[in-house]
């Protein structure tokens, strides 16, 4: 092993972690015991928002700081658990007044502002379904998700509405209400002022009986083929959020927790909203995007104790020479976690040296709803490894062929990472796409699409994706979505899109474009195509690089061989070419 293990000294820890003996906790774990740690509804069942907010608001933590919001402009807004309960009740009453029923979808397209959090919790109180969208999406990804997710309500801001949604209205007949979080007055009968509606609504709301299996959250994720698919999560996911908040994030009552992810991505929902609230701790939200100086200042001034961030941000911090601890007092911080893409071992070790704490990598996906494999506060770290499965989760490396699944028991052998289905936050469907959902499960295993291996001591190591999905800045981008947008341009005959490895953001979206006869490959056209794609897709999805190519490598059945485009880009062996049709 090129990097030494990082040994943990329990005696030196200020707070004794919840999970001390990994093997023992695993052996004694039961989801029933986790269920007993939360409350359940008096009227029956289990509601994620009740557990996250109302449970605390009616107990001893009512006046504990739940959400501290840091505005871009330096403003601060504090909400206690009692405030959160009242604010989310108002939002739930707004939905009820508008006739939004159980199971109907409420989308959010906005930056990280307090209204987003109240909308999420209020939607769940109404037993409607919350679906957050990343505010950096362009109009096309927004349209795809709103239409595929049957959006009835969209909560957004004036600027985002005008820029990305107004022009889509005709294509979205089912979208009945747009609630603008920053509008003083209604624009018309369908585009309403959220502050006005909130002010008129009661701050009391009795949550209706909620089945643990009722749909709560809808998260879109990219596929290799076709448009994004909506992964459905249920209220029962609370158990995974709670268990991972305990075992992995190691949340204790006085913690100040900061998850830097945006709720438009699953990490920003499961861990930017639910896990900290389920534990009744203070959840810090920064409206601004990554800014190294600002982040160090937040860690210091807000006394952040547990920090959950991403490799892209950590690698940016690593670009700054010098020792952050000579300029910032980071002594409150006791635990750092990372997710989004595998954290390179150099970054884990950098944390130890520069921040005085190693960084704990973990692994999970939109479909899993919560952390599945992790490094734990009290467990030695093998830098570069994603750690070991969460207590309650069975993970394996498997090989799939035409006969089915074979579990690989030998250590160090690469295969697909698979999980035994049945954990509480497992996705219950891809919305309106049963066939695609069914394909994820084979012989009693959920197949993650990620390649990995397990060492002799049970640590898992990420290898790569089994398919063509691109992981950029920790976000999944489906090549098909990008190719489709490019092909709408008059000069484009065909496009093939890959993830090109990048030292900072993991992969960047790169498109290979075949142009139609009569057009000339030029720098001007390349720039025009980048601008064209950015306008439709937004900066989070649009290609950062475009290259012209005479023809795309395809299989005999006409599928683009993106794997081959990537191998050529990287100068790697081209592998099995038996299905290649042309070149």
């Amino acid at each position: 092993m090129p990097f030494d293990s990082i040994h943990k000294d329990l005696q030196a820890m200020r707070v004794t972690p919840h999970l001390v003996g990994y093997d023992q906790t695993r052996a004694t774990h039961s989801w029933e015991a986790v269920r007993a740690e939360i409350q359940g509804l008096r009227s029956g069942g289990l509601n994620l928002a009740h557990e996250a907010v109302d449970r605390h608001a009616t107990g001893v933590r009512a006046n504990h700081l739940a959400l501290r919001w840091l505005g871009k402009d330096g403003s601060v807004r504090d909400l206690t658990y009692a405030d959160m309960a009242r604010g989310s009740a108002r939002f739930a009453n707004v939905l009820r007044t508008l006739g939004v029923a159980k199971g109907e979808r409420v989308f959010a397209l906005m930056g990280r502002i307090p209204e987003l959090y109240l909308a999420a919790l209020g939607t769940l109180k109404n037993v409607s379904v919350f679906c957050p969208l990343f505010s950096q999406f362009g109009p096309e990804p927004v349209f795809q998700r709103l239409s595929r997710g049957d959006a009835k309500v969209l909560v957004t801001t004036k600027a985002l509405y005008e820029k990305k949604v107004a022009a889509l209205r005709e294509r979205l007949p089912a979208l009945q209400f747009i609630l603008l979080a920053d509008a003083e007055d209604d624009l018309d009968v369908t585009v309403r002022s959220l502050p006005k509606l909130m002010a008129a609504a009661s701050d009391e709301f009795v949550i209706l009986p909620t089945s643990p299996e009722d749909m709560a959250l809808l998260h879109f994720t990219s596929g290799t083929t076709g448009m994004p698919k909506g992964a459905v999560h249920v209220h029962q996911a609370a158990l995974t959020h709670f268990a991972t908040g305990k075992y992995v994030l190691d949340l204790h009552p006085e913690d100040i927790f900061w998850c830097t992810a945006d709720p438009g991505w699953v990490t920003g929902t499961s861990y930017g909203i639910f896990a900290p609230f389920l534990h009744g701790v203070t959840n810090l939200v920064d409206e601004a995007d990554f800014d190294a100086e600002r982040w160090y200042r937040i860690l210091e001034e807000q006394n952040v104790t547990v920090w959950y961030t991403a490799p892209t941000a950590i690698r940016r911090l690593m670009r700054i020479p010098g020792e952050p601890r000579t300029q910032h007092d980071l002594s409150a911080l006791r635990l750092i976690h990372s997710v989004g893409e595998p954290l390179n071992p150099e970054a884990v070790v950098w944390g130890q040296r520069a921040l005085g704490l190693p960084i704990h990598d973990n692994w999970w996906q939109t479909e899993t709803g919560g952390i599945m494999i992790a490094n734990y506060a009290a467990m030695d770290i093998r830098p570069g490894s994603m750690g070991k499965p969460l207590p309650g989760i069975d993970a394996a490396i498997v090989k799939r062929d035409e006969h089915g699944i074979e579990v690989i028991t030998e250590a160090g052998v690469e295969g697909e990472l698979a999980l035994k289905p049945g954990w509480p936050s497992m996705f219950r469907a891809y919305l309106h796409d049963e066939a695609r959902y069914a394909k994820c499960f084979v012989d009693g295993w959920y197949l993650s699409g990620d390649l990995a291996k397990r060492d002799a001591d049970g640590y898992f190591w990420f290898v790569g994706r089994a398919d063509d999905i691109i992981k950029t800045s920790g976000h999944m981008v489906g090549p098909f979505e990008v190719e489709s947008a490019l092909m709408e341009h008059a000069a484009v005959a065909e496009a093939g899109v890959i993830g090109k490895p990048d030292p900072l953001i993991g992969e960047l979206v790169k498109a290979f474009v075949v142009i139609k006869p009569g057009h000339t490959a030029s720098d001007e056209l390349r720039m025009e195509l980048i601008g064209f794609a950015r306008k439709r897709l937004g900066p989070a999805v649009a290609p950062k690089e475009i290259a012209f190519i005479d023809s795309l490598p395809k299989t005999r059945s006409g599928k683009i061989m993106r794997r081959l485009l990537k191998a050529r880009e990287l100068g790697l062996p081209e592998g099995d070419l038996s299905t290649l049709e042309n070149d």
């Binding site: 995007d289 800014d291 190294a292 800045s473």
Partner: protein, 80 residues
């Protein structure tokens, strides 16, 4: 270098990242990244290119200071 020349370099750099944008329409105090839809990675690329064109060293720790046209001119002006 005159302010006009510096501005031209900034606009060229922004168009390189966001070819569909009209940086010359930016108000001096408008947040560049939000207005032109430039993500964190693109902004980093823009600043690295800016360093190559102007010779001004911009450390990562200062990136947050360069959020408007005014702020950029103030930061770069005395250094070019």
């Amino acid at each position: 270098m005159s302010e006009a020349e510096l501005k031209a370099i900034l606009f060229d750099g922004l168009r390189e990242i966001a070819p569909e944008a009209e940086p010359e329409k930016l108000r001096p105090d408008q947040k560049i990244r939000e207005t032109l839809d430039i993500d964190s990675f693109d902004f980093l690329k823009f600043l690295i290119a800016l360093n190559e064109k102007t010779g001004v060293e911009i450390p990562e720790a200062d990136y947050g200071k360069l959020n408007t046209l005014d702020a950029m001119l103030r930061y770069l002006g005395p250094k070019v």
